[in-house]
């Protein structure tokens, strides 16, 4: 892994598996009475959220706190950003406070990249969702959840079939998932109305279908995307009813999945629109589990990034994949 996590494409297969393995061990620790680990004591993690978010912000905050980092949460509302402060000046302020890691969510695609490569800050940058571009830690937690249910919690996802359905155009989750799942060996099919597919989607490493039922047959998992009404400034489909009839997941459709197939949703859900309440709360749903897994995966990302970030001694093998230990200490 480079020193930042900006895109799911930054991760090699070995690195991704190493993060998932680390997250799995951290999940075991979180089952005990004392959940806190001293690992990042003295490090400062800044949550820099220019867009509203509940679960991602809380998840990163919980992850950093469980590793004993000092956490500063910054949301654009109630900050100088609402007075017109630029990303650069905000970044310089954070740098002056000595941020070791900056978790950034921004409405503009590419903002985390700008932050990481502008020289404004020294800390590592983690993309927590930028515009309609990427959301790599969501993809990691989805991969973790898939691996847990479909691959006994080990290795990669070779040969597993995952269907991603809905508003791909506005979804950073879809792009990151396609990239990461592909890296992990899964076959991905996107299902969406043509109006909700981005330009250039045919170059993505996945298949595209307009027939939800056919794509679902025998699939190992289906990932429903939220219809992002707040980003829609045009009519992308005729009516809510028609959308949910063609691209909504109901009980009948969920039954088309393979035995043991799972239903996922990154949240927040529009119940009754892309997913029926019955399915969202049904036995195949792992939606709540995705949130829990998010904390462990983000702990793993922070640990591995901040562990690799500093010090000349780390330069020999700062990657996420190495198996290295000390002989005699």
């Amino acid at each position: 892994m480079s020193t930042h996590l900006l895109s799911a494409a930054d991760l090699t297969r070995d690195e991704a598996v190493a993060i998932l393995d680390t997250a799995a061990e951290l999940a075991r620790i979180s089952g005990r009475t004392v959940k806190k680990l001293p690992t990042l004591r003295g490090r400062t993690v800044v949550n820099l959220f220019f867009e509203d978010s509940t679960r991602t912000r809380i998840s990163f905050e919980a992850a950093a706190k469980r590793l004993s980092a000092d956490v500063i949460t910054f949301s654009a509302k109630g900050s100088s950003v609402s007075k017109g402060e630029s990303l650069k000046d905000t970044a310089l302020t954070l740098e002056a406070m000595g941020a070791d890691a900056v978790i950034v969510r921004h409405g503009a695609s590419g903002a985390p990249h700008r932050l990481a490569h502008s020289g404004w800050i020294d800390g590592v940058v983690v993309n927590a969702g930028d515009g309609t571009h990427e959301h790599p830690t969501q993809a990691l937690l989805d991969a973790y959840t898939l691996r847990h249910h479909l691959a006994d919690g080990e290795g990669a996802l070779d040969g597993r079939r995952v269907v991603i359905v809905g508003d791909v155009l506005h979804s950073r989750v879809a792009r990151s998932n396609v990239l990461l799942l592909r890296t992990l060996g899964a076959q991905v099919t996107l299902v969406a109305p043509p109006t909700l597919l981005p330009v250039g989607v045919e170059a993505w490493p996945c298949e595209i279908s307009y027939d939800f039922d056919a794509a679902l047959a025998g699939a190992d998992a289906v990932m429903m995307l939220r219809v992002q009404a707040e980003r829609m400034n045009a009519a992308y489909f005729p009516s809510t009813n028609e959308y949910s009839r063609r691209y909504g997941l109901d009980v009948r459709r969920a039954s088309l999945l393979a035995d043991g197939g799972i239903v996922m949703h990154p949240g927040p859900m529009n119940r009754g629109m892309e997913i029926s309440a019955e399915v969202a709360d049904g036995p195949r749903s792992v939606i709540v589990e995705q949130v829990t897994n998010g904390v462990h995966v983000r702990m793993a990302v922070l640990y591995r990034l901040l562990g690799a970030a500093e010090g000349p001694g780390a330069s020999a093998e700062p990657t996420l994949s190495g198996s290295f230990e000390e002989a005699a200490s």
Partner: protein, 192 residues
């Protein structure tokens, strides 16, 4: 012994593979038997003992000691593993490492006599981290330390209760413990 026999990432610790073997399989076996007896003797039996091996090579050593004790006492001895990676103080120097399993026996460690087992005692920093990790798992009645090799050069005020073999070394020498369960053979080699 060729470089290919060594796990990845460790080659630089052992530039001179032609070190001298200070313990072989029989030697290690005798030492573990002696430590098992010593622990039982000092604890007056096996009533509330828990043996915890420190990842990675402390774990098979702990299992072997526990098995010896079980033979002697005729009762099973609770044994587990402790991964101290997240408790290390050198994250910023050495970088992130892969995690290993921490498995505590089902009855926990509260009120028990915990014997930590590691392969080599050197700076003492691993043991410091292990004590921190232990206190997050519960409150033992007492904690003792057993090591296969004590090579000196402590950087913290710690000592082992049970020492397999004292091996005087210089700081730039490397002490390599190999165990069958991880490395395919039992031996201790000093090189450099």
């Amino acid at each position: 012994m060729t470089a290919a026999d060594m796990p990845p990432g460790r080659a630089s610790d052992f530039p001179d593979e032609a070190g001298s073997r200070v313990l072989d399989s029989d030697g290690i076996s005798r030492i573990l038997g002696r430590i098992a007896h010593e622990i039982l003797e000092r604890a007056h039996g096996a009533q509330d003992l828990v043996i915890l091996g420190i990842q990675t090579r402390g774990v098979p050593l702990a299992r072997r000691i526990a098995a010896r004790m079980a033979d002697i006492e005729g009762v099973p001895i609770p044994v587990g593993s402790l991964d101290i990676t997240m408790y290390r103080d050198d994250l910023s120097l050495r970088g992130a490492r892969p995690l290993h399993a921490t498995d505590v026996p089902v009855d926990g460690i509260d009120g028990r006599l915990v014997v930590l087992v590691d392969d080599v005692l050197f700076s003492g920093r691993t043991i410091r981290a292990a004590l921190d990790a232990l206190s997050d798992l519960g409150r033992p009645r007492a904690v003792q330390l057993a090591v296969l090799v004590d090579r000196g050069h402590r950087e913290l005020p710690l000592r082992a209760d049970y020492v397999g073999k004292n091996i005087p070394t210089s700081r730039d020498q490397a002490v390599r413990v190999r165990v069958v369960e991880v490395d395919g053979l039992d031996e201790v080699v000093v090189s450099g």
